[in-house]
Protein backbone atom coordinates (compact mmCIF):
# COMPACT_ATOMS: atom_id res chain seq x y z
CA UNK A 1 0.00 0.00 0.00
CA UNK A 2 2.43 2.61 1.19
CA UNK A 3 4.90 1.54 -1.43
CA UNK A 4 2.52 2.12 -4.25
CA UNK A 5 1.32 5.47 -2.98
CA UNK A 6 4.85 6.69 -2.46
CA UNK A 7 6.03 5.57 -5.86
CA UNK A 8 3.08 7.05 -7.67
CA UNK A 9 3.45 10.67 -8.70
CA UNK A 10 1.25 13.01 -6.74
CA UNK A 11 -2.07 13.17 -8.53
CA UNK A 12 -2.60 16.60 -10.06
CA UNK A 13 -6.24 16.71 -9.16
CA UNK A 14 -5.56 16.33 -5.45
CA UNK A 15 -8.46 18.20 -3.89
CA UNK A 16 -7.56 20.99 -1.51
CA UNK A 17 -7.81 19.84 2.06
CA UNK A 18 -11.39 20.99 2.36
CA UNK A 19 -12.95 20.53 5.77
CA UNK A 20 -15.11 17.46 6.05
CA UNK A 21 -18.61 18.34 4.99
CA UNK A 22 -20.87 19.23 7.90
CA UNK A 23 -23.23 16.38 7.02
CA UNK A 24 -20.49 13.78 7.32
CA UNK A 25 -19.15 15.38 10.39
CA UNK A 26 -22.44 15.42 12.17
CA UNK A 27 -22.92 11.80 11.12
CA UNK A 28 -19.67 10.94 12.81
CA UNK A 29 -20.67 12.74 15.98
CA UNK A 30 -23.99 10.98 15.97
CA UNK A 31 -22.21 7.67 15.55
CA UNK A 32 -19.78 8.36 18.39
CA UNK A 33 -22.55 9.68 20.60
CA UNK A 34 -24.63 6.56 20.00
CA UNK A 35 -21.71 4.31 20.87
CA UNK A 36 -21.06 6.21 24.08
CA UNK A 37 -24.74 6.27 24.95
CA UNK A 38 -25.05 2.51 24.48
CA UNK A 39 -21.93 1.94 26.59
CA UNK A 40 -23.44 4.14 29.29
CA UNK A 41 -26.69 2.18 29.03
CA UNK A 42 -24.76 -0.96 29.99
CA UNK A 43 -22.38 0.56 32.51
CA UNK A 44 -24.47 3.07 34.47
CA UNK A 45 -26.81 0.50 36.09
CA UNK A 46 -23.74 -1.52 37.04
CA UNK A 47 -22.23 1.60 38.55
CA UNK A 48 -25.36 2.17 40.63
CA UNK A 49 -25.08 -1.36 41.97
CA UNK A 50 -21.45 -0.65 42.85
CA UNK A 51 -22.41 2.54 44.64
CA UNK A 52 -25.00 0.70 46.69
CA UNK A 53 -22.67 -2.16 47.48
CA UNK A 54 -19.91 0.14 48.67
CA UNK A 55 -22.23 2.09 50.91
CA UNK A 56 -23.01 1.46 54.54
CA UNK A 57 -26.32 -0.33 55.18
CA UNK A 58 -27.79 2.92 56.50
CA UNK A 59 -26.74 4.89 53.46
CA UNK A 60 -28.38 2.34 51.13
CA UNK A 61 -31.80 3.13 52.50
CA UNK A 62 -31.43 6.88 52.91
CA UNK A 63 -32.86 9.38 50.51
CA UNK A 64 -31.81 11.10 48.33
CA UNK A 65 -29.08 8.85 47.26
CA UNK A 66 -25.48 9.87 46.75
CA UNK A 67 -24.22 9.10 43.26
CA UNK A 68 -20.71 8.57 44.57
CA UNK A 69 -19.79 5.50 46.62
CA UNK A 70 -18.55 6.17 50.11
CA UNK A 71 -16.36 3.05 50.05
CA UNK A 72 -17.89 1.62 53.16
CA UNK A 73 -17.62 -2.14 53.44
CA UNK A 74 -20.52 -2.35 55.86
CA UNK A 75 -22.94 -3.87 53.37
CA UNK A 76 -20.47 -6.46 52.25
CA UNK A 77 -19.60 -7.31 55.84
CA UNK A 78 -23.26 -7.69 56.64
CA UNK A 79 -23.57 -9.92 53.59
CA UNK A 80 -20.63 -12.09 54.66
CA UNK A 81 -22.04 -12.41 58.14
CA UNK A 82 -25.58 -13.25 57.07
CA UNK A 83 -26.74 -16.67 58.16
CA UNK A 84 -26.15 -19.30 55.46
CA UNK A 85 -24.90 -17.02 52.76
CA UNK A 86 -21.31 -18.18 52.70
CA UNK A 87 -22.54 -21.72 52.47
CA UNK A 88 -24.72 -20.71 49.52
CA UNK A 89 -21.74 -19.07 47.89
CA UNK A 90 -19.72 -22.25 48.38
CA UNK A 91 -22.56 -24.33 46.91
CA UNK A 92 -22.76 -22.05 43.89
CA UNK A 93 -19.06 -22.52 43.24
CA UNK A 94 -19.24 -26.28 43.69
CA UNK A 95 -22.27 -26.69 41.43
CA UNK A 96 -20.80 -24.43 38.75
CA UNK A 97 -17.46 -26.25 38.87
CA UNK A 98 -19.11 -29.64 38.54
CA UNK A 99 -21.25 -28.34 35.69
CA UNK A 100 -18.16 -27.01 33.98
CA UNK A 101 -16.29 -30.30 34.22
CA UNK A 102 -19.22 -32.48 33.22
CA UNK A 103 -20.36 -30.41 30.28
CA UNK A 104 -16.87 -30.35 28.78
CA UNK A 105 -16.26 -34.01 29.55
CA UNK A 106 -19.47 -35.05 27.80
CA UNK A 107 -19.78 -32.24 25.31
CA UNK A 108 -16.29 -32.02 23.84
CA UNK A 109 -16.20 -35.60 22.45
CA UNK A 110 -19.49 -34.96 20.68
CA UNK A 111 -18.20 -31.65 19.34
CA UNK A 112 -15.14 -33.47 18.06
CA UNK A 113 -17.27 -36.16 16.41
CA UNK A 114 -19.40 -33.51 14.70
CA UNK A 115 -16.40 -31.65 13.35
CA UNK A 116 -14.35 -34.64 12.21
CA UNK A 117 -16.65 -37.44 11.07
CA UNK A 118 -19.33 -37.94 8.52
CA UNK A 119 -21.70 -40.44 10.00
CA UNK A 120 -25.26 -41.53 9.59
CA UNK A 121 -27.52 -39.52 11.83
CA UNK A 122 -25.05 -36.67 12.24
CA UNK A 123 -27.45 -34.01 10.95
CA UNK A 124 -30.27 -35.36 13.11
CA UNK A 125 -28.02 -35.32 16.14
CA UNK A 126 -26.94 -31.77 15.46
CA UNK A 127 -30.50 -30.53 14.98
CA UNK A 128 -31.67 -32.32 18.12
CA UNK A 129 -28.91 -30.66 20.12
CA UNK A 130 -29.94 -27.31 18.66
CA UNK A 131 -33.59 -27.98 19.40
CA UNK A 132 -32.96 -28.65 23.08
CA UNK A 133 -32.31 -24.93 23.20
CA UNK A 134 -35.88 -24.32 22.11
CA UNK A 135 -37.09 -26.02 25.28
CA UNK A 136 -37.53 -24.09 28.48
CA UNK A 137 -35.00 -26.37 30.14
CA UNK A 138 -35.38 -25.16 33.73
CA UNK A 139 -38.85 -26.65 33.62
CA UNK A 140 -37.23 -30.07 33.63
CA UNK A 141 -36.29 -29.38 37.22
CA UNK A 142 -39.89 -30.13 38.23
CA UNK A 143 -40.02 -33.84 37.39
CA UNK A 144 -36.38 -34.23 38.33
CA UNK A 145 -37.23 -33.03 41.81
CA UNK A 146 -39.38 -36.13 42.18
CA UNK A 147 -36.82 -38.38 40.58
CA UNK A 148 -34.05 -37.04 42.78
CA UNK A 149 -35.99 -37.68 45.95
CA UNK A 150 -36.29 -41.30 44.86
CA UNK A 151 -32.58 -41.62 44.13
CA UNK A 152 -31.33 -39.61 47.09
CA UNK A 153 -30.02 -36.83 44.88
CA UNK A 154 -32.52 -34.32 46.17
CA UNK A 155 -31.09 -31.19 47.71
CA UNK A 156 -27.54 -32.13 46.72
CA UNK A 157 -25.10 -30.02 44.78
CA UNK A 158 -24.43 -32.96 42.48
CA UNK A 159 -28.10 -33.33 41.58
CA UNK A 160 -28.36 -29.65 40.73
CA UNK A 161 -25.10 -29.86 38.77
CA UNK A 162 -26.66 -32.62 36.66
CA UNK A 163 -29.56 -30.34 35.75
CA UNK A 164 -27.23 -27.44 35.03
CA UNK A 165 -25.13 -29.72 32.85
CA UNK A 166 -28.24 -30.41 30.81
CA UNK A 167 -28.52 -26.65 30.35
CA UNK A 168 -24.88 -26.18 29.45
CA UNK A 169 -24.35 -29.32 27.34
CA UNK A 170 -25.94 -28.13 24.09
CA UNK A 171 -23.74 -25.05 24.25
CA UNK A 172 -20.68 -27.11 25.07
CA UNK A 173 -21.32 -29.41 22.11
CA UNK A 174 -21.92 -26.60 19.63
CA UNK A 175 -19.08 -24.45 20.87
CA UNK A 176 -16.51 -27.25 20.89
CA UNK A 177 -17.81 -28.30 17.48
CA UNK A 178 -17.02 -24.85 16.22
CA UNK A 179 -13.64 -24.84 17.96
CA UNK A 180 -12.58 -28.22 16.59
CA UNK A 181 -13.73 -27.21 13.13
CA UNK A 182 -11.28 -24.33 13.39
CA UNK A 183 -8.36 -26.75 13.56
CA UNK A 184 -7.47 -28.10 10.12
CA UNK A 185 -7.89 -31.85 9.76
CA UNK A 186 -4.60 -31.80 7.89
CA UNK A 187 -2.74 -31.13 11.14
CA UNK A 188 -4.10 -34.32 12.60
CA UNK A 189 -3.47 -36.25 9.43
CA UNK A 190 0.10 -34.98 9.35
CA UNK A 191 0.53 -36.27 12.89
CA UNK A 192 -0.83 -39.68 11.85
CA UNK A 193 1.66 -39.95 9.02
CA UNK A 194 4.42 -38.94 11.45
CA UNK A 195 3.85 -41.85 13.77
CA UNK A 196 0.87 -40.83 15.89
CA UNK A 197 -2.17 -42.90 16.65
CA UNK A 198 -5.53 -41.20 16.63
CA UNK A 199 -5.20 -40.71 20.36
CA UNK A 200 -1.64 -39.39 20.45
CA UNK A 201 -2.39 -37.10 17.51
CA UNK A 202 -5.22 -35.69 19.59
CA UNK A 203 -3.14 -35.18 22.72
CA UNK A 204 -0.01 -33.91 20.95
CA UNK A 205 -1.57 -31.70 18.30
CA UNK A 206 -5.27 -30.98 18.78
CA UNK A 207 -5.33 -30.58 22.54
CA UNK A 208 -2.57 -27.95 22.83
CA UNK A 209 -4.24 -25.94 20.10
CA UNK A 210 -7.75 -26.22 21.44
CA UNK A 211 -7.01 -25.72 25.14
CA UNK A 212 -7.65 -21.95 25.31
CA UNK A 213 -10.96 -22.41 23.50
CA UNK A 214 -11.95 -25.30 25.72
CA UNK A 215 -11.18 -23.16 28.73
CA UNK A 216 -13.43 -20.45 27.34
CA UNK A 217 -16.32 -22.82 26.80
CA UNK A 218 -15.78 -24.31 30.25
CA UNK A 219 -16.05 -20.82 31.69
CA UNK A 220 -19.22 -20.33 29.69
CA UNK A 221 -20.67 -23.47 31.27
CA UNK A 222 -19.61 -22.18 34.68
CA UNK A 223 -21.46 -18.91 34.10
CA UNK A 224 -24.60 -20.69 32.92
CA UNK A 225 -24.70 -22.65 36.15
CA UNK A 226 -23.64 -19.74 38.34
CA UNK A 227 -26.50 -17.62 37.02
CA UNK A 228 -29.27 -20.20 36.95
CA UNK A 229 -32.11 -19.41 39.32
CA UNK A 230 -35.22 -21.48 38.69
CA UNK A 231 -33.87 -25.03 38.79
CA UNK A 232 -31.63 -24.10 41.70
CA UNK A 233 -34.59 -22.77 43.63
CA UNK A 234 -36.71 -25.83 42.83
CA UNK A 235 -34.10 -28.48 43.56
CA UNK A 236 -32.35 -27.22 46.65
CA UNK A 237 -33.70 -26.49 50.09
CA UNK A 238 -30.90 -26.78 52.64
CA UNK A 239 -28.04 -26.62 50.16
CA UNK A 240 -29.15 -23.48 48.38
CA UNK A 241 -26.94 -21.86 45.81
CA UNK A 242 -26.40 -18.14 45.97
CA UNK A 243 -29.05 -17.38 43.36
CA UNK A 244 -31.60 -19.61 45.05
CA UNK A 245 -30.73 -18.14 48.42
CA UNK A 246 -31.11 -14.57 47.22
CA UNK A 247 -34.37 -15.37 45.46
CA UNK A 248 -35.69 -16.91 48.65
CA UNK A 249 -34.81 -13.86 50.70
CA UNK A 250 -35.93 -11.28 48.15
CA UNK A 251 -39.17 -10.70 49.99
CA UNK A 252 -37.85 -10.09 53.46
CA UNK A 253 -34.12 -9.32 53.15
CA UNK A 254 -32.94 -5.76 53.70
CA UNK A 255 -31.98 -3.80 50.62
CA UNK A 256 -28.28 -3.72 51.36
CA UNK A 257 -28.18 -7.52 51.50
CA UNK A 258 -29.82 -7.73 48.09
CA UNK A 259 -27.40 -5.29 46.57
CA UNK A 260 -24.33 -6.89 48.09
CA UNK A 261 -25.63 -10.28 46.88
CA UNK A 262 -26.28 -8.93 43.42
CA UNK A 263 -22.79 -7.51 43.38
CA UNK A 264 -21.24 -10.84 44.35
CA UNK A 265 -23.29 -12.45 41.57
CA UNK A 266 -22.09 -9.94 39.00
CA UNK A 267 -18.37 -9.85 39.76
CA UNK A 268 -17.45 -13.31 38.44
CA UNK A 269 -19.57 -12.61 35.39
CA UNK A 270 -17.50 -9.53 34.59
CA UNK A 271 -14.27 -11.46 34.92
CA UNK A 272 -15.55 -14.41 32.93
CA UNK A 273 -16.82 -12.37 30.04
CA UNK A 274 -13.48 -10.61 29.97
CA UNK A 275 -11.66 -13.94 29.95
CA UNK A 276 -13.70 -15.43 27.11
CA UNK A 277 -14.21 -12.26 25.06
CA UNK A 278 -11.84 -13.43 22.32
CA UNK A 279 -13.83 -16.62 21.83
CA UNK A 280 -17.33 -15.26 22.30
CA UNK A 281 -17.81 -14.55 18.62
CA UNK A 282 -15.90 -17.37 17.03
CA UNK A 283 -17.74 -19.74 19.31
CA UNK A 284 -21.01 -18.59 17.88
CA UNK A 285 -19.77 -18.35 14.31
CA UNK A 286 -20.30 -21.96 13.43
CA UNK A 287 -22.49 -22.85 16.32
CA UNK A 288 -25.50 -21.09 14.85
CA UNK A 289 -25.20 -22.56 11.40
Amino acid sequence: MTHASMAAPAPKTEPNPTPVTPVRNSGRYLYAATVILLCAWVLVPLYFLLVNTLSSPEQVSTFPKSFIPEFDLGSLQFFAGFQGILNALKNSIIVASMTMVMSILFGAPAGYALSRFEFRGKETFRVLILLTRAFPLPLLALPLAVLFIRTGLDDTTFGLALVHTTLALPFAVLITFSLFSGIPVELEEAAWTLGCTRFTAFTKVVLPLILPGITASAIFAFVISWNEVFAAAVLTIENRTLTAFLLQTLGEAPLHLKFAGGFILVVPALIFIFAVRKYLFSMWGIANR
Binding site: V35, P136, T165, A269, L280, N288
Partner: protein, 281 residues
Protein backbone atom coordinates in the same frame (compact mmCIF):
# COMPACT_ATOMS: atom_id res chain seq x y z
CA UNK B 1 -11.75 -48.82 17.62
CA UNK B 2 -13.04 -48.96 14.10
CA UNK B 3 -13.44 -45.53 12.53
CA UNK B 4 -17.03 -46.37 11.71
CA UNK B 5 -18.03 -46.72 15.34
CA UNK B 6 -15.80 -44.04 16.79
CA UNK B 7 -18.15 -41.09 16.14
CA UNK B 8 -21.01 -42.96 17.75
CA UNK B 9 -18.86 -43.74 20.75
CA UNK B 10 -18.02 -40.05 20.99
CA UNK B 11 -21.61 -38.83 20.92
CA UNK B 12 -22.79 -41.59 23.24
CA UNK B 13 -22.12 -39.73 26.52
CA UNK B 14 -24.11 -36.68 25.44
CA UNK B 15 -26.89 -38.79 24.06
CA UNK B 16 -27.18 -40.87 27.21
CA UNK B 17 -26.98 -37.82 29.41
CA UNK B 18 -29.68 -35.99 27.50
CA UNK B 19 -31.87 -39.07 27.45
CA UNK B 20 -31.71 -39.36 31.24
CA UNK B 21 -31.87 -35.68 32.10
CA UNK B 22 -33.82 -34.24 29.19
CA UNK B 23 -35.98 -36.85 27.51
CA UNK B 24 -36.88 -38.81 30.61
CA UNK B 25 -37.91 -35.77 32.69
CA UNK B 26 -39.86 -34.58 29.72
CA UNK B 27 -41.81 -37.82 29.77
CA UNK B 28 -42.21 -37.53 33.53
CA UNK B 29 -43.52 -34.00 33.30
CA UNK B 30 -46.06 -35.13 30.73
CA UNK B 31 -47.12 -37.97 32.98
CA UNK B 32 -47.55 -35.60 35.88
CA UNK B 33 -49.46 -33.13 33.77
CA UNK B 34 -51.84 -35.64 32.25
CA UNK B 35 -51.98 -37.95 35.21
CA UNK B 36 -54.69 -38.06 37.81
CA UNK B 37 -56.20 -40.47 40.29
CA UNK B 38 -57.94 -42.40 37.52
CA UNK B 39 -55.60 -42.58 34.51
CA UNK B 40 -55.19 -39.92 31.90
CA UNK B 41 -57.08 -36.70 32.13
CA UNK B 42 -56.92 -33.04 31.34
CA UNK B 43 -57.88 -32.22 34.88
CA UNK B 44 -54.65 -30.38 35.72
CA UNK B 45 -54.88 -28.34 32.57
CA UNK B 46 -58.46 -27.37 33.36
CA UNK B 47 -57.44 -26.40 36.89
CA UNK B 48 -54.55 -24.34 35.69
CA UNK B 49 -56.39 -22.56 32.93
CA UNK B 50 -59.43 -21.78 34.99
CA UNK B 51 -57.38 -20.37 37.86
CA UNK B 52 -57.95 -16.60 38.06
CA UNK B 53 -54.25 -15.82 37.81
CA UNK B 54 -53.76 -17.74 34.58
CA UNK B 55 -55.06 -15.14 32.09
CA UNK B 56 -53.15 -12.33 33.74
CA UNK B 57 -49.88 -14.25 33.99
CA UNK B 58 -50.24 -15.42 30.39
CA UNK B 59 -50.99 -11.89 29.28
CA UNK B 60 -48.07 -10.48 31.24
CA UNK B 61 -45.65 -13.02 29.79
CA UNK B 62 -46.76 -12.47 26.21
CA UNK B 63 -46.90 -8.69 26.53
CA UNK B 64 -43.46 -8.64 28.05
CA UNK B 65 -42.07 -10.78 25.23
CA UNK B 66 -43.83 -8.62 22.66
CA UNK B 67 -42.40 -5.46 24.18
CA UNK B 68 -38.91 -6.73 24.83
CA UNK B 69 -37.93 -8.90 21.87
CA UNK B 70 -38.48 -6.39 19.03
CA UNK B 71 -36.56 -3.71 20.91
CA UNK B 72 -33.75 -6.16 21.55
CA UNK B 73 -33.69 -7.20 17.92
CA UNK B 74 -33.46 -3.60 16.73
CA UNK B 75 -30.93 -2.69 19.37
CA UNK B 76 -28.69 -5.69 18.74
CA UNK B 77 -28.82 -5.10 14.98
CA UNK B 78 -27.86 -1.48 15.52
CA UNK B 79 -25.04 -2.41 17.86
CA UNK B 80 -23.79 -5.19 15.59
CA UNK B 81 -23.64 -2.98 12.51
CA UNK B 82 -22.01 -0.18 14.49
CA UNK B 83 -19.38 -2.54 15.81
CA UNK B 84 -18.52 -3.97 12.40
CA UNK B 85 -17.60 -0.57 10.98
CA UNK B 86 -15.69 0.43 14.05
CA UNK B 87 -11.93 0.79 13.67
CA UNK B 88 -10.71 2.02 17.02
CA UNK B 89 -11.74 0.61 20.36
CA UNK B 90 -13.80 -2.19 18.85
CA UNK B 91 -12.66 -4.73 21.41
CA UNK B 92 -13.38 -2.47 24.34
CA UNK B 93 -16.83 -1.49 23.10
CA UNK B 94 -17.69 -5.12 22.38
CA UNK B 95 -16.55 -6.12 25.85
CA UNK B 96 -18.69 -3.46 27.46
CA UNK B 97 -21.71 -4.34 25.35
CA UNK B 98 -21.42 -8.04 26.10
CA UNK B 99 -20.99 -7.68 29.86
CA UNK B 100 -24.70 -8.33 30.55
CA UNK B 101 -24.28 -11.71 28.86
CA UNK B 102 -22.67 -12.97 32.02
CA UNK B 103 -25.19 -11.43 34.38
CA UNK B 104 -28.02 -13.54 35.72
CA UNK B 105 -31.60 -12.42 35.51
CA UNK B 106 -31.68 -12.29 39.28
CA UNK B 107 -28.71 -9.93 39.41
CA UNK B 108 -30.24 -7.85 36.63
CA UNK B 109 -33.44 -7.60 38.64
CA UNK B 110 -31.49 -6.47 41.69
CA UNK B 111 -29.55 -3.92 39.64
CA UNK B 112 -32.71 -2.34 38.30
CA UNK B 113 -34.21 -2.51 41.73
CA UNK B 114 -31.44 -0.13 42.81
CA UNK B 115 -32.77 2.30 40.24
CA UNK B 116 -36.50 1.94 40.65
CA UNK B 117 -36.96 1.35 44.39
CA UNK B 118 -38.40 4.14 46.46
CA UNK B 119 -35.06 5.36 47.81
CA UNK B 120 -33.41 4.46 44.50
CA UNK B 121 -31.45 6.39 41.96
CA UNK B 122 -34.35 7.33 39.70
CA UNK B 123 -36.18 8.98 42.55
CA UNK B 124 -33.00 10.66 43.76
CA UNK B 125 -32.41 12.03 40.29
CA UNK B 126 -35.96 13.23 39.73
CA UNK B 127 -36.16 14.90 43.09
CA UNK B 128 -32.72 16.35 42.48
CA UNK B 129 -33.80 18.05 39.29
CA UNK B 130 -37.10 19.04 40.81
CA UNK B 131 -39.36 16.93 38.62
CA UNK B 132 -41.11 15.54 41.66
CA UNK B 133 -41.26 16.74 45.23
CA UNK B 134 -40.95 13.48 47.11
CA UNK B 135 -39.86 9.99 46.09
CA UNK B 136 -42.48 7.92 44.30
CA UNK B 137 -43.19 4.26 45.13
CA UNK B 138 -42.58 3.20 41.51
CA UNK B 139 -42.77 -0.52 42.19
CA UNK B 140 -45.91 -0.57 44.29
CA UNK B 141 -49.23 -2.02 43.15
CA UNK B 142 -50.52 1.45 42.23
CA UNK B 143 -48.09 1.65 39.34
CA UNK B 144 -48.44 -1.55 37.30
CA UNK B 145 -47.30 0.35 34.20
CA UNK B 146 -44.02 1.34 35.81
CA UNK B 147 -43.44 -2.18 37.10
CA UNK B 148 -43.91 -3.42 33.58
CA UNK B 149 -41.55 -0.75 32.26
CA UNK B 150 -38.90 -1.57 34.88
CA UNK B 151 -39.07 -5.27 34.10
CA UNK B 152 -38.95 -4.62 30.36
CA UNK B 153 -35.94 -2.32 30.76
CA UNK B 154 -34.12 -4.83 32.94
CA UNK B 155 -34.79 -7.57 30.37
CA UNK B 156 -33.64 -5.40 27.49
CA UNK B 157 -30.60 -4.37 29.45
CA UNK B 158 -29.67 -7.92 30.36
CA UNK B 159 -30.51 -10.06 27.38
CA UNK B 160 -29.70 -7.98 24.33
CA UNK B 161 -26.08 -9.11 24.61
CA UNK B 162 -26.78 -12.72 23.63
CA UNK B 163 -28.43 -11.55 20.40
CA UNK B 164 -25.59 -9.13 19.82
CA UNK B 165 -23.01 -11.88 20.10
CA UNK B 166 -24.85 -14.14 17.68
CA UNK B 167 -25.39 -11.33 15.19
CA UNK B 168 -21.81 -10.05 15.35
CA UNK B 169 -20.59 -13.59 14.74
CA UNK B 170 -23.04 -13.89 11.85
CA UNK B 171 -22.01 -10.59 10.28
CA UNK B 172 -18.40 -11.69 10.61
CA UNK B 173 -19.20 -14.61 8.33
CA UNK B 174 -20.49 -12.40 5.52
CA UNK B 175 -17.63 -11.78 3.07
CA UNK B 176 -16.76 -8.12 2.67
CA UNK B 177 -16.83 -8.42 -1.12
CA UNK B 178 -20.62 -8.52 -1.08
CA UNK B 179 -20.73 -5.08 0.47
CA UNK B 180 -18.14 -3.79 -1.94
CA UNK B 181 -20.08 -5.24 -4.85
CA UNK B 182 -23.30 -3.67 -3.58
CA UNK B 183 -21.51 -0.36 -3.14
CA UNK B 184 -20.12 -0.49 -6.67
CA UNK B 185 -23.64 -1.06 -7.94
CA UNK B 186 -24.73 2.06 -6.14
CA UNK B 187 -26.37 0.79 -2.96
CA UNK B 188 -26.51 3.29 -0.11
CA UNK B 189 -25.46 2.16 3.37
CA UNK B 190 -29.08 1.70 4.32
CA UNK B 191 -29.79 -0.31 1.16
CA UNK B 192 -26.70 -2.41 1.81
CA UNK B 193 -28.01 -3.16 5.26
CA UNK B 194 -31.44 -4.09 3.91
CA UNK B 195 -30.34 -5.97 0.81
CA UNK B 196 -27.09 -7.60 1.87
CA UNK B 197 -26.75 -7.80 5.63
CA UNK B 198 -30.28 -8.77 6.59
CA UNK B 199 -30.85 -11.55 4.05
CA UNK B 200 -27.42 -13.07 4.60
CA UNK B 201 -27.87 -12.83 8.32
CA UNK B 202 -30.98 -14.98 8.32
CA UNK B 203 -29.43 -18.09 9.95
CA UNK B 204 -28.05 -15.97 12.76
CA UNK B 205 -31.30 -14.05 13.12
CA UNK B 206 -33.08 -17.37 13.39
CA UNK B 207 -30.85 -18.60 16.20
CA UNK B 208 -30.89 -15.28 18.00
CA UNK B 209 -34.66 -14.93 17.86
CA UNK B 210 -35.41 -18.49 18.87
CA UNK B 211 -33.06 -18.29 21.81
CA UNK B 212 -34.40 -14.94 22.87
CA UNK B 213 -38.09 -15.73 22.48
CA UNK B 214 -37.79 -18.99 24.37
CA UNK B 215 -35.89 -17.23 27.12
CA UNK B 216 -38.48 -14.47 27.16
CA UNK B 217 -41.15 -17.02 28.06
CA UNK B 218 -38.89 -18.25 30.83
CA UNK B 219 -38.66 -14.82 32.41
CA UNK B 220 -38.69 -15.31 36.14
CA UNK B 221 -36.12 -13.87 38.51
CA UNK B 222 -36.21 -10.35 37.07
CA UNK B 223 -39.93 -10.31 37.59
CA UNK B 224 -39.71 -11.62 41.13
CA UNK B 225 -36.99 -9.12 42.01
CA UNK B 226 -38.82 -6.09 40.62
CA UNK B 227 -42.49 -6.93 40.77
CA UNK B 228 -42.74 -9.50 43.51
CA UNK B 229 -46.23 -10.92 43.41
CA UNK B 230 -47.52 -7.76 41.76
CA UNK B 231 -46.66 -9.04 38.33
CA UNK B 232 -47.43 -12.74 37.88
CA UNK B 233 -45.86 -14.46 34.88
CA UNK B 234 -46.08 -18.09 33.78
CA UNK B 235 -42.80 -19.18 35.34
CA UNK B 236 -43.53 -17.58 38.68
CA UNK B 237 -46.92 -19.31 38.64
CA UNK B 238 -45.22 -22.65 38.03
CA UNK B 239 -42.95 -21.92 40.95
CA UNK B 240 -45.92 -21.01 43.09
CA UNK B 241 -47.79 -24.19 42.17
CA UNK B 242 -44.76 -26.28 42.98
CA UNK B 243 -43.91 -24.71 46.32
CA UNK B 244 -46.68 -22.61 47.78
CA UNK B 245 -49.54 -24.77 46.57
CA UNK B 246 -47.61 -28.06 46.52
CA UNK B 247 -49.47 -29.06 43.38
CA UNK B 248 -46.87 -30.58 41.11
CA UNK B 249 -49.49 -31.86 38.66
CA UNK B 250 -50.66 -28.33 37.98
CA UNK B 251 -47.08 -27.08 37.84
CA UNK B 252 -46.33 -29.74 35.23
CA UNK B 253 -49.41 -28.86 33.20
CA UNK B 254 -48.45 -25.20 33.18
CA UNK B 255 -44.88 -26.16 32.27
CA UNK B 256 -46.22 -28.05 29.27
CA UNK B 257 -48.19 -24.99 28.22
CA UNK B 258 -45.01 -22.89 28.34
CA UNK B 259 -43.27 -25.61 26.36
CA UNK B 260 -46.03 -25.64 23.75
CA UNK B 261 -45.87 -21.86 23.34
CA UNK B 262 -42.09 -22.04 22.99
CA UNK B 263 -42.30 -24.72 20.33
CA UNK B 264 -44.97 -22.89 18.38
CA UNK B 265 -42.87 -19.72 18.33
CA UNK B 266 -39.74 -21.65 17.41
CA UNK B 267 -41.52 -23.19 14.44
CA UNK B 268 -42.94 -19.85 13.38
CA UNK B 269 -39.49 -18.25 13.47
CA UNK B 270 -37.89 -21.15 11.64
CA UNK B 271 -40.52 -20.90 8.95
CA UNK B 272 -40.49 -17.13 8.65
CA UNK B 273 -36.73 -16.86 8.40
CA UNK B 274 -35.98 -20.02 6.49
CA UNK B 275 -33.08 -19.89 4.11
CA UNK B 276 -33.73 -21.31 0.64
CA UNK B 277 -31.59 -24.34 -0.15
CA UNK B 278 -28.37 -23.30 -1.82
CA UNK B 279 -28.74 -19.65 -0.82
CA UNK B 280 -26.34 -19.96 2.10
CA UNK B 281 -23.05 -18.10 2.13
Amino acid sequence: MSPRLLPYALILPVTLFLCVFFLYPFILVSQQAFGSADGWSLEHFRDVVSYWKFPISMQNTLLLAAAVVPVQLALSLLMATMVTRMQKGRDLVLYVWTIPLGISDLAAGIIWLAIFEQSGFLNSMMVGIGAIDSPMPFLSYQNPGIIFLAIALAEIWRATAIMLVILVAGIGLIPKEYYEAAEVFGASPWQRFLRVTLPLLRPSLQTALILRVVLAFEVFAVVVALGGSQFPVLMSEIYAYQFDLQNSGAAAALALIVLAISIVFTLVILRALRVPKGATI
